[in-house]
Symmetry: C2
Subunit: 793 residues, 2 copies
Amino acid sequence: MKTKFDKIEYFQSMDKWFRAANYLSVAQIYLRDNPLLKEELTKEHIKLYPIGHWGTIPGQNFIYTHLNRVINKYDLDMFYIEGPGHGGQVMISNSYLDGTYTEIYPEITEDTLGIKKMCKRFSFPGGTASHAAPETPGSIHEGGELGYSLSHATGNILDNPNVIAATVIGDGEAETGPLCSGWFSNSFINPVNDGVVLPILHLNGGKISNPTLLSRKPKEEVEQYFLGLGWKPHFFEWSEDKTNIEIHQEMAQTIDLVIEEILEIKRVAKLNDATKATRPQWPVLIVRTPKGWTCPKEWDGQAIEGSFRAHQVPLPVSAFKVEHIKELEKWLKSYKPEELFDENGKIIDEIRSLAPLGDKRMGSNPITNGGINPKELDLSKWQDFAIKLDYPGQIKGQDMVELGKYMADTILKNPTNFRVFGPDETKSNRLFALFDVTKRQWLENYSEKYDEWVSPVGRIIDSQLSEHQAQGFLEGYVLTGRHGFFASYESFLRVVDSMITQHMKWMKKSLELSWRKDYPSLNLIATSTAFQQDHNGYTHQDPGLLGHLADKRPELIREYLPADSNTLLAVMEKSLKERNVINLIVASKQPREQFFNVDEAKELVEKGYKVIDWASNIKEGEEPEIVFVSSGVEPNLETLAAISIINSHYPDLKIKYVNVVDLLKLRSPHIDSRGLSDEEFDKVFTKDKLIVFAFHGYEGLIRDIFFTRTNRNLIIHGYRENGDITTSFDIRQLSQMDRFHIAKDAIAKLYGEKGKSFTDLMDKKIKEHNEYIHEYGYDMPEVVEWKWKNINE
Amino acid sequence: MKTKFDKIEYFQSMDKWFRAANYLSVAQIYLRDNPLLKEELTKEHIKLYPIGHWGTIPGQNFIYTHLNRVINKYDLDMFYIEGPGHGGQVMISNSYLDGTYTEIYPEITEDTLGIKKMCKRFSFPGGTASHAAPETPGSIHEGGELGYSLSHATGNILDNPNVIAATVIGDGEAETGPLCSGWFSNSFINPVNDGVVLPILHLNGGKISNPTLLSRKPKEEVEQYFLGLGWKPHFFEWSEDKTNIEIHQEMAQTIDLVIEEILEIKRVAKLNDATKATRPQWPVLIVRTPKGWTCPKEWDGQAIEGSFRAHQVPLPVSAFKVEHIKELEKWLKSYKPEELFDENGKIIDEIRSLAPLGDKRMGSNPITNGGINPKELDLSKWQDFAIKLDYPGQIKGQDMVELGKYMADTILKNPTNFRVFGPDETKSNRLFALFDVTKRQWLENYSEKYDEWVSPVGRIIDSQLSEHQAQGFLEGYVLTGRHGFFASYESFLRVVDSMITQHMKWMKKSLELSWRKDYPSLNLIATSTAFQQDHNGYTHQDPGLLGHLADKRPELIREYLPADSNTLLAVMEKSLKERNVINLIVASKQPREQFFNVDEAKELVEKGYKVIDWASNIKEGEEPEIVFVSSGVEPNLETLAAISIINSHYPDLKIKYVNVVDLLKLRSPHIDSRGLSDEEFDKVFTKDKLIVFAFHGYEGLIRDIFFTRTNRNLIIHGYRENGDITTSFDIRQLSQMDRFHIAKDAIAKLYGEKGKSFTDLMDKKIKEHNEYIHEYGYDMPEVVEWKWKNINE
């Protein structure tokens, strides 16, 4: 069907848009004045320090121009993900051309002065980033650390059935591990209930200074690669033999095919039952254009256009170095700006008329700013799922099993905006109850006989063994205003700790922008923790995400170490309600004693810590002789056991016990505004009494926290990087975070030589347990069946 | 050609090996006594807590059996990489069958008692891990954190032209990002100079509790996937219609084809010039067998064999739960142990005779224990490359440029056992001199016109944009006794911080084993640091690897922050000579003042810190009024500048300046045995004088370090998580780690209200610089051209 979008005139106008976008993109690198070359270019017009990346820009401007065309032609709801690491001008220039940029930043007017300001502030102190970033209209994905564009895009379009994520992937990014695994995302997208990811692989041939792999492989190999990954490849190949208009025509024909395939897949899918869907062969578009396309072909005898040399600033011109200013002027004028902007610097109507209308413009698609119709989560009260306890330690329970029940309820109440992600660990992490209400979404073949709980429709996506994918999906889901969590083996969250940081950076910058909406919390559950990996051993033990995140912006980070089921439930409700934070929740999955009743758990989570009266034997306001503190499941258990051992030997010793759930609240308010004041801290922990702190993580973090406080009389028992395959109790012993070591160190410090008979006894216990464990491969009944007795009675 | 290896009898014997390996693998999970079922199986024979993973085992035993066959048939030099995360029994059982295990562990004798011990200690406290681990003979790759088998294998075989890495990849592992990007390794292997990676993708269909992606895709897609990645796929597909002997025959035919293709590629390659080589189409072997193959087909009405349910311990039998003991006995007996072991429990000669001889056995291939002919590095003295300085600050220099010259020399002196790895950053990191002596190894197409410094032969591998690959290659190279470094943008080393940890874990465990050789150091150069990413902005800023590694085993970690070229050179020589450590070297690439002469740099690196006399104005032994400390390039520069500002205003103030290069030496010897004693620490830093510490990383690490020390009168200026695109100086200002903030905070603390005129002046400076920067996008000449003057003259 020949429409107005297929006529020569339309392509001629498109070429003007393309030239205008390119012109503005070059201008942003170099110019601080005279942005439309109304005068001869001089030193005063050039930036002192031109920064920016040119190489990826023209190819992306070309793609963007054509995406606008298909949005108009097919009335698509499409947004743009800029995977390539640089080329921030792409989204700035194109959203300036479609009007969005000026709507968001009214100071960037649609005239010469506006363009001048836009140019000057690009890659400039206090200005706009040199890659797609929070300040870029229409952006939902940062071009800094590479590899996450496909997983983000997938997270974005889940449960948004009418949306298309046009996801441009640079050929550099395509070489990263996360991106390579991201191609498998098509196995999890339901064609009825979810939207569409349209990957656009941009082969421009070069990276910073190297060729790229996919651009140098034979075309048939690239084709096979995508067929193998379940995508249908469509190629657009630039050629210097064609005119610009021919190039536009050919690209338009290719992209029409792609879009029509997508629409057909969606049309057919909607005729059928979502639960019967299979993976369609979604199209992938491969666009080959020369790196730096349209810039000078050569410089100093070496190729620039088509070469890695076009990566950053192709021509060496700055206010300090103007000898080649004429070449820059020539390059800029090659786009014929006089045909593109009117005398006031306003973009001509012919160009503007190509822009999609209103929110159809990719620069203002609502999905890129908090999502389409984001809703608060409908949450039951955690208390409805609480464990009833008559006394502390009455029963054993599995915290993650209890959490599973609460989360199953949350899934039922929020059928389209709450999801659970993971790398094949949902069952291992014992969220069993989820499978009573939902399945794992999986569009590949499966068998009723050999497989379990998989279905084309489900609220869990955990069937790819990739932390990068799980984290990327969740980030993409949260950035579009929905809710969820990623439950992972604690140590393997470290695989994505840098991704987590990048999400935090996105939030930090977003929160500085008044036009950006806020985000639901990003919730990470670290379970199967260092101290519960007795059976998998040392490689599976790393509690260091606590330290990693504690280094970051305190207002964006929460770290919770609930010691039992009720506390975990309370933490989860709070976490799911909070916004603009990353919640790290360290949770137990193994059967452990349950200690805290509903009121205690509530206080623990609200205040962040609590003096536990039944494990203290001081009166209100009385100063203890020793303060025990713990943070974490095993630390709490072992500290309580140590207290009861000590109490039975030293019944008169005045003990105070503090459980800490919201770890970072212990920090000084000078470091973290949520932190306890020195006054409160001293009241809780005393100014000089011995503190014995059992901690789930590395000890350095506790030393850091206590550095600013008065009391330095501190013994820490944390994870000491001694791993092995062993028993549950022995894994604590290896870090000396078991009851015997805790009790021994406390008494040795308190009483010195006078405590020798006690410390000898502890040494004996340690030896005895060690021998038993190494004989039987099992813990002694004494620790397995240990029961807490209230020392305050 | 029909050889003895192709006869029915040979396959019959192989099937016995296969059964024996399976038998031993099941026995290791369950049994603590009666290992060969000489008596009826009872509760006393079963472990209290059977642990282990069965699912992956039989398929791998099958593969291992067939690899032995081709080693014998073609006289191959082959070793085994066990990519799947579990199944430690594979390498134990097979190396027990070939005799290696008993040679390494003489207590595991070749009789019933030996087998009993071997079984008991599997997955047992103090015993052997449940995955391939350092204690596993023939292992060079740990099955913990998944995804690195291909990059490790590639690192292993570089410069080992006669070696084949048989690299088994689980279908779970094949879903991880790092592994997906690992397939591109074939683009970097030179068929003449390097060895062979033979990937063996093991499709068994299930992971922990999910189906796997590649096993459920149509065969033609899997075929296309590998063709697209440049590999030639060969399939072996199990079928229940075939007898075991037919299965062996078919597998043998397939693997023969694969090996013959490899040998032919090598034969042809060697006829040609290595510098003219192109990427061959190496074979990949895809082996499909049921998960848990040969275990009971069903349990409790549900499929086990062929299902994820076979992943761990398929039958619920333990010493505590023996109701199904007969089923276990039946399963074990299905392998007919009486046909495999003699009356004393010795493996029968027919089986043993299938083992390759001596070091051809994969359990004892020398490459897996420190490498084939590992050599010390031949290193020039760093002083030969030192910058000559008449006085501190005389010239500016680029530390990485200077390092490049030294490393170019190292490449020339060590043409086959020293390599440089990176993710397309060698040039950006300014190791320019390397390209005078070598190129980047790259076997894909390239063009003289558009590309630079690529060649099929080269000592640099940096043409894939993947930190996972760079780190994996280096790990593999170092674990086989060779030397090298990975130079990375500092922030993106975080992408692999978990990999780095796993390498450390491997070293820790290896060092506990007397039979394991030691390893050359693993050297990480973190450059383009947080404070030098002014032009790339916030996403490129994260100095947190310092804290990450500081949490780990102190004896295995070194952190160096050389402040100029000479110090960097001295650090590098030390780092390349050291063994069994991970060296993190934070280095500058931008032009910066050079301060330390050869003698100073030598002392800085040998002692780890130095009191800099020309930046101190106290006499020997005199107590200062204030101690300035810095660690890192910009911290050093800004501290010196702050000192000179303060000195010009307060010439009588007694200042001591300490530069710290070997950061972790500041720790207490109770935490790090290399740490300064309290006495020495107090002598250097005083017990109570104000310390102003400018630090390259996050401040928590410095608080941690100082917690145990006497002096807490400390102001820290570190990286404060405020990033932006801005100028070089402003990036320091954003963290208040610039001269003006440092000087201001110091005087405010020292003099309070009395210092107000000074602190006001500093505030004025800060404001002035801020305004200038935001006007011009450039730093004020005052800081760019600042010159140090000796305050001691």
